[in-house]
Amino acid sequence: MITTQIDERGYYGRFGGAYIPEMLHANVEELRGNYVQMMGDPEFRREFDLLLKDYVGRPSPLYYADRLSKHYGARIYLKREDLNHTGAHKINNTIGQILLAERLGKKRIIAETGAGQHGVATATVCALKGLQCIVYMGEVDIERQAPNVARMRMLGAEVRPARSGSRTLKDATNEAIRDWINNPEDTHYIIGSVVGPHPYPDMVARFQSIISEETKWQLQEKLGRDYPDAIVACVGGGSNAAGAYYHYLNDERVRLIAVEAAGLGVDSGESAATSQLGSEGIIHGSRTLLMQTADGQIVEPYSISAGLDYPGIGPLHAFLIDSARAEAISVTDDDALAAALFVARQEGIIPALETAHAFAALDQMKYGPEDVIVVCLSGRGDKDLAAFSAYLDSDALPQ
């Protein structure tokens, strides 16, 4: 059996670690030295569980998708993270991290965001706790995810545009890291995915692990068995996937399917399919798979989905894919759009563009009729209505 726990230095196998400049050492070390203990504290646990229940609305339903099941010839269940407060899985992590930040005495919260879901989830918990909130967001993403920008502002957060590089998630992350370097004492950086230096990948995975924790007992209740045959989740950095896999990581009866964004096509030069196009290196403080040139320059990725438009993946996913524990599937923009429309009209659920990639992957998988498939429905699609409307008006629409 493979071990999917990090070692004391924060490595999953050879992936992970904390490749950070000394200016970040004290901040990261403070977190590293405290997060496991704080998360294990009964008072922390009580507050975390209560907020997840009464504020976020957990447990999120595990919904049997009847029409999708008939269409694909398998038993398909949707883990409804889209029904969480703020509309995505991201809030599981921000609730956890704001409680940590509070206990560490931090007064100022910073975050990066791609699709804006993590930014909204961070702005939300900052409002909840009365803490100052600054969200870095690429200029391109500010434009394509305007509803989420408005939500963050409504919640009292300051949205600062990242204007360097490709002006997307990677650059927003760089700006947030710089902010943290400049404000080492009073600021906590809420990273939104299982990326970044140790302890972030492990910490975020633990907060998101509520997804598979619930899936286990929900499947038990519904089917009398507590595991599915496969779990399908989209992977940008990979936080919803990490949470959906977490309690099944060492259960090899369960296939783990990681769905990446192929953009205009894996070989088109406009893609974010990191596991296929990437190689081992360092991004945002972590040794993992990333898209880069032969000279180690990080390549600017592309996906229609702002949340998947990232040139790396979390070190846990690099490890899972490298060790063949997880299978990577890539899905193009067009296939994701078609899948979003299909799910909307089959099930009456409009998924986020990120999640639509996970649905599109169902077309590429093979099943037996009794197979139980859990799709992590990581977020709702309200923020993507502009893209969906354009698609509905376009010639690309399947007849």
Partner: protein, 262 residues
């Protein structure tokens, strides 16, 4: 003998280390900048390997790096430029960049190329001491490269001692908890931090960097340690100087070392 060690043996005070981004403002600026820095009186040169995602650097250096990459600067080009520069000057050269660049070039190939180009030291700010010891130290030492590490106001005394022990080159004393490119004056808090480091009585030479931008801040920094590093201010002085990088370089160094009395 390593040119860096020789420098610190020969000169204990007022050491001027100037940083620039290789390939900026023009691809072929690297050699003239090195030659003119040496001629104008810089004591050592930190050559930045431009990187797409320079986590520890500010906007000025990030922009110069983007420009250098657009100009076509690769590590192969850089090593060719450094080999040429070495035919003109014996000034100590330190390469500064990010560990991913070394990894992708191939760590062994990288240190060999450094050796052939007459590079004396390395600064890889995102390579922590543990990973350095595990993955890179032996190679670097075998090529005679002195590796410098950063310390900051947030670094504890114990950690400073550990870092100093694994640092074969000078200690890079980050003047404040800040990314490069600031230009503030040295504050009381910074003075207290410098005093704290001085009290540790470490054997390593120490250079202050970050926020050193002109003759005044350079003089103040030199009161505390062996010298100081100027980076972003020089990059700003080179902006738009493609046609006269040599003169711009000389003027900049002169203003630091012999400020006019106005």
């Amino acid at each position: 003998m390593n040119r860096l060690s020789a420098l610190f043996d020969r000169k204990e005070r007022d050491i001027l280390n100037v940083y620039f981004t290789a390939g900026y403002p023009a691809l072929d600026s690297t050699v003239p900048i090195i030659r003119n820095l040496a001629e104008a009186g810089a004591d050592l040169i930190e050559v930045g390997m431009p990187y797409s995602d320079p986590m520890a650097d500010g906007e000025t250096i990030q922009q110069s790096s983007m420009r250098a990459l657009q100009n076509g600067l690769t590590l192969d080009v850089l090593f060719r430029q450094l080999r040429e520069a070495r035919t003109h000057t014996e000034i100590p050269l330190v390469l500064m960049g990010y560990f991913n660049q070394v990894m992708q070039y191939g760590a062994e190939r990288f240190v060999m190329a450094c050796r052939e180009a007459g590079v004396d030291g390395l600064i890889l700010p995102d390579l922590p001491a543990y990973e350095y010891a595990r993955d890179f130290r032996e190679l670097a030492e075998s090529a005679g490269l002195e590796v410098s590490f950063l310390i900051t106001p947030m670094t504890t005394d114990d950690r400073i001692r550990e870092i100093a022990a694994s640092s074969s080159g000078f200690l890079y004393v980050v003047s404040s908890s800040s990314i490069t490119g600031g230009s503030s004056e040295i504050t009381d808090r910074q003075r207290a931090y410098f005093d704290r480091i001085a009290a540790l009585d470490l054997p390593n030479p120490k250079l202050i960097g970050f926020g050193i931008s002109d003759a005044a801040t350079f003089r103040t920094a030199c009161e505390y340690f062996n010298g100081a590093i100027i980076g972003s201010a020089f990059i700003r002085a080179l902006a738009g100087q493609e046609e006269r990088v040599g003169e711009a370089t000389q003027e900049f160094v002169r203003d630091i070392l012999e400020p006019s009395l106005t």
